[in-house]
Symmetry: C2
DNA sequence: TAAACTTGTAATCAAATTAATTACATGATG
DNA sequence: CATCATGTAATTAATTTGATTACAAGTTTA
């Protein structure tokens, strides 16, 4: 299993909207960079819009960031694209046998453990912003040009 | 998406083997507590065995822990049951457009970020042992009995 | 030794999820 | 009105999961 690439595509979209801020970031344009179908991009754009991260309007070409670069964290994107339900990064087997000590209690024991692992992951995502990503991408770009 | 319940079932199995250490933990017995098919348990037992966490022998009923309770971490189980490939908790979209600044660099920018989030999660799992789980389960059991 | 029981493992199946694709309603604009 | 955009639904193939059945091979015991 793997967390859907909608997440990385979401990051890609926001990053490109910023880097292309003087141009028009239509779904077709973004799809060209991500290398996928424009409808896939529009679907994700809809999620980002719903989460208040971008501004898009039906009929009008192009998306813009709805917040400051440094106010959008990877956690915002992660939650926006809905790759993982709240508290459910890990799934726990259902209906363990209630007639067994372990079966009776295992879910309640495991749940908070899984939750704190999930939270640790989310904290890391919360500490990275799209601004960081944009900077790193442009940084790497400079290095590439030298080669 | 969600991380396979093989993980929580693996924890359940190890915990029950310990709590039932005076009895025989056959795949059928374990399956009865987890509430699933014995073949599912045997498959997971095979993974736990391969990872050196339990001892099982063909033809001989019952599994035993192969290490001390306090030497088995949840991370050991997590890796044993193979729910997530190394470095691949998050998937990154493939073949972004190399003719675009973002497309060219996004993968290399994102990968270490995802990796550190994944590592943070694993660190939490590494700090919890089966001993902790066993203690918590028995603790909760005592509380239940009072009701 | 034969019967009974176990683990190990492969094959099959339905259900769920993903990303890609097609299609089309609706909005905006020259 | 023609053109192009977004929004969204439906369909598809591929992948993964957990359940199930089946059976080979090892062990025990009557």
């Amino acid at each position: 299993m793997s967390i859907s690439s909608r997440f990385s595509v979401g990051i890609h979209i926001l990053t490109l909207i910023e880097i292309n801020k003087d141009g028009v970031s239509s779904s077709e344009y973004l799809a060209g960079s991500v290398n996928t179908n424009p409808a896939v991009i529009r679907k994700i754009m809809g999620m980002l819009k719903k989460a208040g991260l971008i501004k898009v309007q039906p009929g009008i070409a192009g998306a813009e960031l709805a917040k400051d670069l440094s106010d959008i964290t990877l956690l915002d994107v992660y939650k926006a694209v809905n790759v993982v339900k709240d508290k459910e990064l890990f799934s726990i087997h259902e209906n363990p046998n209630p007639d067994c000590t372990v079966g009776r209690n295992i879910q309640n024991t495991i749940e908070p453990l899984f939750f704190s692992a999930q939270t640790a992951l989310e904290k890391v995502l919360e500490n990275v912003t799209i601004e960081d990503v944009v900077k790193d991408v442009t940084e790497k770009e400079k290095l590439n040009v030298k080669c």
